[in-house]
Symmetry: C2
Subunit: 449 residues, 2 copies
């Protein structure tokens, strides 16, 4: 029914890396706990009569039991089904009826549900959302019908798309132990076996107020949010305490790995090279911020070294860049990518990307380009203040991956403190070509590329 | 204390593929259950006054909980510690005192303990073995001391050996989902965290008579074994029933992957290419037998195609071969390997190996070479009848990976029924180069090989 956005969730964490840590307007961000353990964050934004209401559950695909891949995303779908109080589709129709919008997404570390509506409808949204937190009706029929939907989603989004198939196998190769190895949507043969007992156990364990974060951004006051939240979410009984989210982590990596997919449907070859690096949650102080700026300087946009060197000066690449997914609970990945233009060969593009990495690892970055990169972050921050849902997403993703409100608020200051030496140091420490994983997407005719 | 043989366990399953399925002498193999659910197999062999006594637990590294890698092998070590009835080392000394030998090993699917002694000592062995099945004293001191031993074992056997490091990362790459991905000895960072609570839970769950198989081969009668077993193992209370051993399985693989380790300690480059293929336990009827014969014809010894073509005729390889690890609970791996000789390049050896695979996949094997391969199996069978412990290992490994006594006994007949077309079919179906994983071990100077 409601198409989920688990793919978007990946993009989302990228966007977060370039968005700010300030409350919209000059409003003070407020956070508190309900008596049942539910966290609440209120981000005032009075420019328009709109409110973004999100519930983030601290449960993602990386928390799934062995052999049950896909159940977190499956459960996101099931949350749109009938409850003991509302028929399936009633919540969606209520949002549409008042001109609002709603959706949900699942990622490795969280599952989130959100609505954007007029502030007068906030109480109603909370009432619906609190209802489905505990009152879903999980029958075999519901399970079977929705399982067919996610299987079809996998077929159409992954199995019929060579790039998506390659990305899955690159992830399974990059991660030797950590569960980010497993696709969010799940492995087909495991999705096919997901059943009502699995879903019920998952629901009872994770869909509880003490495992959820409520984010309300918009034309509201903390007092109003608190009063409404207590009347709705506050009535939901606290669930069993969950153990700390300690998952298998990566061993030391000692090899260079490649993953190659050759497919007739591919027209332009492309590559990505990835490394395991610390996330904001696992990094030593300053390292994740330095990785963010490294990604920006190396390949964050048109002013980056990769773009300037490969696309503009040498003219060999149609695209080239880098990114860092910092907002993750466990160690994360740093990625560079490129694709050739015209008669250029993929191998030339890859060698040129590698050369730019080596140049930063050995020569560092200049103070001038570091300042400009920081400035670009600040500009992105100003843009983000205009986007209520970006602010809500930033707080939600941070709180769902082991961070807190202050981490979000102090982030711009921490970015400003990064030195050129620190950027050089993380490049030299983490971006070693003989400890990396490269994926190649090749057209059939270039199989020998 | 007692060095474990988890590495040997891998070699063992290879040896099994070429050993027979007959009882030694003309003795009939007997099997029965004790009242507490313990399986017993008796293999009479009256040529010498010797008996091989083995207990196989149906618990291996692939059954470990997430994040607890290494605990199966760790527990093998702990089984040599003090019990409520015997001091640490007492069992070992008792075996030595009567001129016997003993050891233990851990693999992906099982953990086994064995002694070879005079038949008059069989009851004493059973008494010791039944005692440590339930009466180990697991203190924090014992855990800490033995954990240091396995950590040191990992450092010396794996981390200081480039080939072992490469093999680990090839396994972690070949297996995208199945637990054979994880090294039997464990990942260092997880081994360091193994504690008394983990060990106790593991012991209580898996070290029970109803999760064990007793194999006695030698100068004994079934009646004598049964009487002794009932007096010793038979007194151990049945443990909780275990759920079926259903583990995560592999998704479809769609890419060609490579894993490269370059190290100054390597003098001769080498490669292995692996595929995921069915095991005896997961295969359709006849497929695993065909894979065994394919391995034999392609690369099983001096008469194999790889040896004859690469080592003898072309003279480019110092070594080249193939093997199939059929005796596994889940899908397993088929492996080819090679290393260059003299001035030959690794890439030439790899291309020549690939060509031989393609030749079988498209042209099949001849009836004559198939018959000769079957004959070599029969000869290996005759040799194995002379080795009491090989017979015991064969039954133990089969029963610990989902098979039964009849599977062992009928195996030679099933091998004899394989046709040339069936060998060609498994080569074509499973040995696809664009769905394989290749590991390269390179000297520092040949980094660009």
């Amino acid at each position: 029914m409601k198409p989920s956005e688990w793919l978007r969730a990946t993009l989302l964490t990228l966007a977060l890396a370039t968005t700010p840590a300030l409350a919209a307007d000059d409003g003070t961000v407020t956070n508190f706990l309900l008596d049942n353990g539910m966290e609440v964050v209120v981000i005032p934004d009075h420019r328009a009569p709109i409110v973004t209401h999100m519930v983030w559950y601290k449960i993602g695909s990386a928390d799934e039991p062995p052999g049950k891949s896909g159940i977190a995303h499956f459960f996101e779908h099931l949350m749109f089904k009938a409850t003991t109080n509302h028929a399936a589709g009633e919540f969606d129709r209520a949002v549409s009826a008042i001109g609002g919008s709603n959706n949900a997404f699942t990622s490795y570390d969280y599952t989130a549900f959100h609505e954007t509506v007029a502030p007068s409808a906030l109480g109603e949204m909370m009432s619906f959302e609190a209802d489905r937190m505990r009152n879903l009706i999980l029958t075999d029929d519901v399970i079977k019908t929705e399982r067919d939907v996610i299987l079809e989603e996998r077929r159409s989004r992954i199995d019929s798309n060579p790039q998506a198939v390659l990305e899955e196998e690159v992830d399974a190769t990059l991660w030797q132990n950590q569960p980010y190895r497993i696709p969010v949507i799940g492995w087909m043969q495991e999705m096919e076996q997901l059943n009502r007992a699995d879903a019920k156990a998952f629901y009872d364990k994770y869909y509880t107020p003490n495992n959820a974060v409520l984010i309300v951004a918009g034309d509201v006051t903390p007092e109003m949010v608190k009063a409404l939240a207590e009347k709705t979410y506050g009535k939901v009984a606290r669930g069993p305490d969950l153990p700390p989210r300690i998952r298998p982590v990566e061993p030391e990596q000692n090899t260079k790995r490649t993953v190659t997919l050759t497919d007739a449907r591919v027209s332009v070859p492309a590559f990505t090279t990835q490394w395991v690096v610390p996330s904001y949650h696992t990094a030593k102080p300053g390292e994740a911020e330095a990785l963010d700026l490294l990604a920006e300087i190396l390949g964050g946009g048109n002013r980056s070294r990769l773009y300037q060197q490969l696309v503009v000066k040498q003219g060999i690449a149609a695209t080239a860049g880098a990114y860092f997914q910092g907002t993750m609970l466990d160690a994360t990945n740093f990625t560079v990518y490129g694709a050739p233009r015209g008669d250029a060969r993929l191998a030339d593009v890859e060698a040129a990307v590698d050369a730019e990495i080596a140049r930063i690892a050995s020569g560092g970055v200049t103070d001038s380009e570091l300042e400009k990169a920081k400035d670009r972050y600040v500009r992105a921050m100003i843009f983000a203040r205009d986007k209520q849902d970006d602010m809500a997403n930033m707080y939600g993703a941070t709180l769902a991956t082991g961070g807190n409100v202050r981490d979000v608020q102090e982030w711009p200051d921490r970015i400003r403190k990064v030195t050129a030496d620190e950027v050089k140091a993380v490049a030299a420490r983490y971006l070693k070509l003989d400890h990396s994983t490269t994926g190649y997407l090749l057209p059939q005719t270039q199989a020998g590329n």
